[in-house]
């Protein structure tokens, strides 16, 4: 799994703070690498997936994601209450002559059906989203979409990651934040690219994101976006923490304009391709170095 030349490598693109440019970076990195390597882009921001807006993929497959929720055969139920007792999410309530199931609270752990002494609980799937797969100009593309009104993103993220082909470079676009959906998307990556901006908000959330990837024991590096306004505190932090800044992108209305129209940076301004190839070389170097030192 380590990213030696020619071996596969998983790069996740995360940020802590939203709107710092994760999708811009993930798509341009994928488009730059496509000419020299097999590339797959997995959009794991299943709440608000945006990579498709820029890559305009042709979708060829769609798979429903559901979680198993309990179905009680009340003809055989003795209303003993065991299922309600073992459910950690209060998704089942047992009355005298009635069992109430609250599917939207169920996490699909399976405890109730397994532990029912009468074996009268079966499971049925409840759809919470879809995963769509296809391609964009020869690049493989997969994204997940959480159904509107649904709360649980992680089962969909897990499903999207199941599509990783472990060939060439796999690029994962992550949702903002630092909690469960981010951990689910980032874990098992060989490298995590953290995109931030040079403001106190960017720094505050970067620190949280760095703590998260360190806890997962994944090496990270920074893309500093919209430089020009703001302050130098992110750079000072990175220097102090020995985190490499691998690419800087200036605040530029031309770049923002392309993004606003759904045009990837390296298509609107092809001169950026070299910078993204350089970024991927630096990442490979860090991953290889680490894999070498781990083997020793």
């Amino acid at each position: 799994m380590w990213g030696k030349d020619g071996e596969s490598m998983i790069i996740s693109v995360a940020s802590g703070k939203g709107g710092t440019g994760k999708t811009l970076v993930a798509t341009s990195l994928a488009l730059s690498l496509r000419d020299k390597d097999k590339v797959q882009l997995l959009d794991c921001d299943v709440e608000e997936p945006n990579a498709h807006v820029l890559l305009k993929p042709i979708i060829t497959g769609s798979e429903s994601v559901s979680i198993p929720v309990p179905k009680v055969d009340e003809d055989k139920c003795t209303y003993c209450g065991k299922c309600a007792e073992v459910c950690a999410y209060n998704a089942i309530a047992v009355m005298k002559q009635k069992v109430l199931v609250f599917p939207e609270l169920c996490h699909g752990c399976g405890a109730c059906s397994y532990l029912c002494p009468e074996k009268v609980i079966s499971e049925e799937g409840r759809e919470i989203g879809v995963v769509e797969s296809g391609h964009s100009d020869g690049m493989e593309f997969v994204h997940g979409k959480l159904t509107i009104g649904e709360a649980m993103a992680t089962p969909i993220i897990r499903k999207v990651k199941g599509y990783a082909n472990h060939e060439g470079t796999v690029i994962i676009d992550v949702s903002p934040g630092t909690s469960c959906p981010v951990v689910e998307a980032v874990k098992d990556s060989d490298f995590c690219l953290l995109v931030t901006e040079p403001t106190p908000f960017g720094l505050n959330d970067l620190v949280l994101a760095v703590e998260t990837v360190r806890q997962l024991n994944i090496p990270c590096g920074i893309v500093l976006n919209r430089t020009g306004v703001g302050d130098r505190k992110v750079e000072e932090y990175c220097q102090k923490e020995d985190i490499p800044i691998l690419l800087t992108i200036p605040l530029d209305t031309e770049i923002a304009g392309f993004y606003s129209r759904g045009i990837p940076l390296v298509e609107g301004l092809p001169q950026w391709k070299g910078s993204f190839l350089g970024l991927s070389d630096k990442i490979r170097e860090i991953v290889n170095e680490r894999s070498g030192s781990l083997k020793r």
């Binding site: 703070k17 939203g18 999410y89 405890a111 469960c180 908000f201």
Partner: protein, 286 residues
């Protein structure tokens, strides 16, 4: 008492900058930072913490190696792949307790998990309830619910008119938790195709839960074609565009100074946010 929650779907559209301004503009309110994953509102409001509490939530399985007979049943049953080689990965553990219930040797117990902190603070603009979810922790929805509940108690105790909440990005668990039962959602978007796409999804969530919404287009002049497209979309949906805020580096400069932009600049951004707050007031009264 009325509760306004500021959401966006897409991250980084300017929710926190706008809530910071409402803090300075609104009378008689309590502020709530419901983005417990990556809270930033405190960076504009300079709070002094008055009360700090642990957020105990959810449980994590712990295997007693002495009692364990290595039957592997827990590993087979766990649907979250949280047990490998009879070790629990606390990050993957959903706290469902299935393993603990099923273990024939009764070797697994569930331990309460300290998954964050929450704070009640004073700011020069009024009380602020905020929180910090522990790194890589779950249950952000529950922590959001706790923050809102505390804000509500303060508002009731002090007879305040408004709760102004800074919401998280996305449409999932913490967003639903920020939104349910609120009086009004302000949806902050930007004139990019991604912003429009995400606005449609978060508006869908508001509809799903029956919460009235207003839209604010931030940095509207970065792409005026897209701004018109958002306007047309909102017209069709029967949603009012309550403000069009221009792009201005003063917004970033104000963040660097740790100030709400209405306290930093008297430019068009400030004028537009002032009239937005008045419009929200009107919508809440009507």
């Amino acid at each position: 008492m009325k509760e306004v929650v500021v959401l966006s779907g897409k991250g980084g559209t300017g929710k926190t900058s706008i809530v910071g301004c409402f803090a300075a503009l609104a009378q008689s309110k309590v502020l709530a930072d419901c983005d417990v994953d990556a809270a930033d509102l405190h960076l504009l409001l300079n709070p002094s913490i008055k009360e700090e509490r642990g957020f105990w939530s959810g449980q994590v399985a712990v295997i007693d190696e002495e009692k364990c007979t290595q039957c592997d049943l827990c590993q087979e049953l766990c649907r979250f792949d949280a047990i490998t080689d009879l070790k629990v990965d606390p990050v993957s553990c959903e706290g469902c307790g299935f393993c603990s219930q099923a273990c024939p040797a009764e070797a697994i117990t569930m331990r309460e998990n300290l998954s964050g902190q929450w704070f009640i603070s004073d700011t020069k603009y009024g009380p602020l309830v905020h929180a910090r979810l522990g790194i890589a922790q779950e249950n952000s929805g529950k922590l959001v619910a706790l923050v809102r509940q505390q804000a509500k108690q303060i508002a009731e105790r002090d007879g305040l008119d408004y709760i102004v909440s800074d919401g998280p990005p996305g449409i999932g668990c913490p967003v639903i938790s920020s939104l349910s039962g609120a009086s009004l959602a302000l949806l902050v978007t930007e004139p990019t195709l991604s912003g429009i796409h995400d606005l449609e999804r978060v508006l869908g969530v508001c509809r799903h839960f029956g919460i009235p919404a207003l839209v604010c287009i931030n940095k509207y002049d970065l792409n005026e074609d897209n701004t018109r497209q958002i306007g047309n979309y909102c017209l069709k949906q029967g949603i009012e565009v309550a403000a069009r805020i221009p792009f201005d580096n003063a917004v970033t400069e104000a963040i660097v100074q740790g100030l709400p932009v209405v306290e930093y600049s008297q430019g068009r951004v400030t004028q537009e946010i002032k009239s937005l707050w008045q419009r929200i007031n009107g919508a809440l009264a009507g």
